[in-house]
Homo-oligomer: 475 residues x 2
Amino acid sequence: MLDPVDWDEFRIEAHHMLDDMIDYVEHIRERPVWQPIPGEVRDLFREALPARPSALASAHETFMRAVLPYATGNVHPGFMGWVHGGGTPVGMLADMLAAGLNANLGGRDQMPIEVEKQVLQWVRQIFGFPDAASGLFVTGTSMANFISLIVARTGRLGAGVRKSGMHERRLTAYASSSAHGSIAQALDLSGMGIDALRVVPVNERFEMDVAALAEAVKKDRQAGHMPFFVAGTAGSVDTGAVDDLDAIADFAKREGLWFHVDGAYGALGMLAPDIAPRLSGIGRADSIAFDFHKWGQVPYDAGFVLVRDGELHRSAFASDAAYLRRESRALAAGSPWPCDFGPDLSRSFRALKTWFTIKVFGTEMIGQAISGTCELARHLRKRIEKTDRLELLAPVSLNIVCFRYKCEDPDRVNAEIVARLQESGIAAPSTTVLDGRLAIRAAIVNHRSNRSDIDAFVDAAIDLGNALTRGEYGN
Amino acid sequence: MLDPVDWDEFRIEAHHMLDDMIDYVEHIRERPVWQPIPGEVRDLFREALPARPSALASAHETFMRAVLPYATGNVHPGFMGWVHGGGTPVGMLADMLAAGLNANLGGRDQMPIEVEKQVLQWVRQIFGFPDAASGLFVTGTSMANFISLIVARTGRLGAGVRKSGMHERRLTAYASSSAHGSIAQALDLSGMGIDALRVVPVNERFEMDVAALAEAVKKDRQAGHMPFFVAGTAGSVDTGAVDDLDAIADFAKREGLWFHVDGAYGALGMLAPDIAPRLSGIGRADSIAFDFHKWGQVPYDAGFVLVRDGELHRSAFASDAAYLRRESRALAAGSPWPCDFGPDLSRSFRALKTWFTIKVFGTEMIGQAISGTCELARHLRKRIEKTDRLELLAPVSLNIVCFRYKCEDPDRVNAEIVARLQESGIAAPSTTVLDGRLAIRAAIVNHRSNRSDIDAFVDAAIDLGNALTRGEYGN
């Protein structure tokens, strides 16, 4: 009863919608990266709950007029903020197929789950993991980090912890000061508490100081704690630093710690022959968390968690609810199901857009796109090094460049440069704070970005810095 | 570089894909609900990682041939297993727009977040919650239940628990024996442990026995425990039972407990004037978890969590990471962001398909679809009551009917009936176990289902039961 009364009319409108979205991507360079939202546009979405129906064409028109022009801008090659993938039209179509099929990947014997298993097999291959390794699509790395920690705690304390609770107060975990906040959040949510996380200092390249890790573990053992988990970072969110994963793997093995890798955006660097060696050691992890929606260019969201010990993974999540009864035949066959490996019973078909992306482009082309972003980062670094008024604030490890305009009151001026850049529509970097200094942070993730985008960005940043320090804007 | 080289060619293929999906939904009745997967189809998805590209048309063809025909079947009106929504073509188009826009709803000042806020405002209105209430799209109710528990524990113990961990072992939570397993899972994941959940018995209608709840709380207090959380169920997964939410609300208020409602599929019954009174008391909850992808017919996945005390909600999740620095202007404005209210920083644009669904159909039509499924359940109940060989195993509260074919060895025969029904392609119910008895369980959720689907299902079930007990199948 919620299907179209007139399918032909519906079909015409549907094709309009598709054309509009293809136009959007095809002509993305003609748009500003981002633009401020007018108050009257914002107000369009402050309506009361509609009791009566509206035409699909009218909803579409509202979307085209009031939503699409005021998105974050990460489809645009000038977007360099945070870490956002650019997406592809192929991924969009695959997600349309998924939404039409309306598959729920929680369980049941269905081909969509075979597609997810195919991607899992590819992921095992990427990281050199054994067939016994398990894996699962999740929203993003924050959830993948959390699941990894839950499996690790189950490994250390046994599945009995699921009933008895996390009352072992001696457990301690380790990550560097450059690690993503979702590691601390995982400790929070799991009931271990953020205080159980030891923040290990980083070296001048913002990589974990493994000697300091060893020192911290030793000190904790002496104090009666039970070190059990260390998270290495493959592509830190601030600067793109990659921890020495081999050294951490060696140490974790020696000390009997669970070795987790947060490779949110960096892990897929394995697909680029020039980047993969930087990730050496990642294949020795007990668990890896990463996103296909960053360097993998799959549309949001498509996080993934990979666990070496699939049986342990299952023991941390499986339940025996009557309504999830398994059979050896028909729809309730195919056990184990994805819901046995994670918290979700309702799971959209994230695997399809990922399968299409890998199948249609192949890993070489995705790898080239990844390499390309790192090459652009090196180009940006060179531009900065050649410009007296600019200074780098961190080494350029992969695809992230942190720098600033040199002047008096640099934190205020550089924050202003970033805001004005965003408002200009030319480029959209973000900011971070490194050693107490505000940095203009450009994370080049989009496969559409090219040298002219980088040059336009850095030229505009210099112009803005010059103008602001000359007082042209009344500062 | 991952954009089409030839946009015109790409566009033609894209329109083929769209037509194929519209055809799929338009002609869904011509297909079997579900069919077994041939071995050679399964094997198509056991390839090695592809290094080289493939044509989009070829990936599409593989999808049409090997994935689409072997889905779970929940788009089909004969699907009655577990609790699966049917989706709509409107939702599919909206999800295509979302995937093309590739928005990440973690944060930033962008209209997609205004769309999510619009849906939040509508949700507040549906449940009569104040403007200070917060809410968030998540994958599904399992995650929404977990988030609610995390907020509740933060409310009871203060935000300091995030640092110190869940070492307060006296906390106890309450849910009925009909509650969904994700409540116990939330206690597991949060570190409280499943043992901290008191399973309250149900009455003959499978609703929580509120006197028994009072008794359990009293006993726990006497034993030095700290009762803090009670979950009522609005539409239990086994039978569709709705707890007496007003009675639980009264009790929770008197005892100072957090009152959570798991309304995974039932909560949206608020949109149906004949169902809403059954949910009386839901508007008094401290938190509500539910899914738009069930009775709301939004494509997977689109769960939602609503929390009365938005400030408390934020205090349970917000962090101050440098890379999430907020500004009063430009892209980094618009604080608080959705990532301040939940675990995810990467969040797809679930709000858009939900906004389109509510906007295009309006709440009256969605409510009529919901009422319609309950009417069909009553029709099925009557058919069962009029058939000597069938017996109901639970009262029909909303849209779920549990029954069995009466015979010797009923568990084996009824499991066989369900497997053969699924294999027949006529209908796809699932099973559950009630009071130790295996039930054929029909959850009528799909807006496309009508009386002829119900009749075909029950006729086939009777025929199969007769044939199996006459030994026609060699049983």
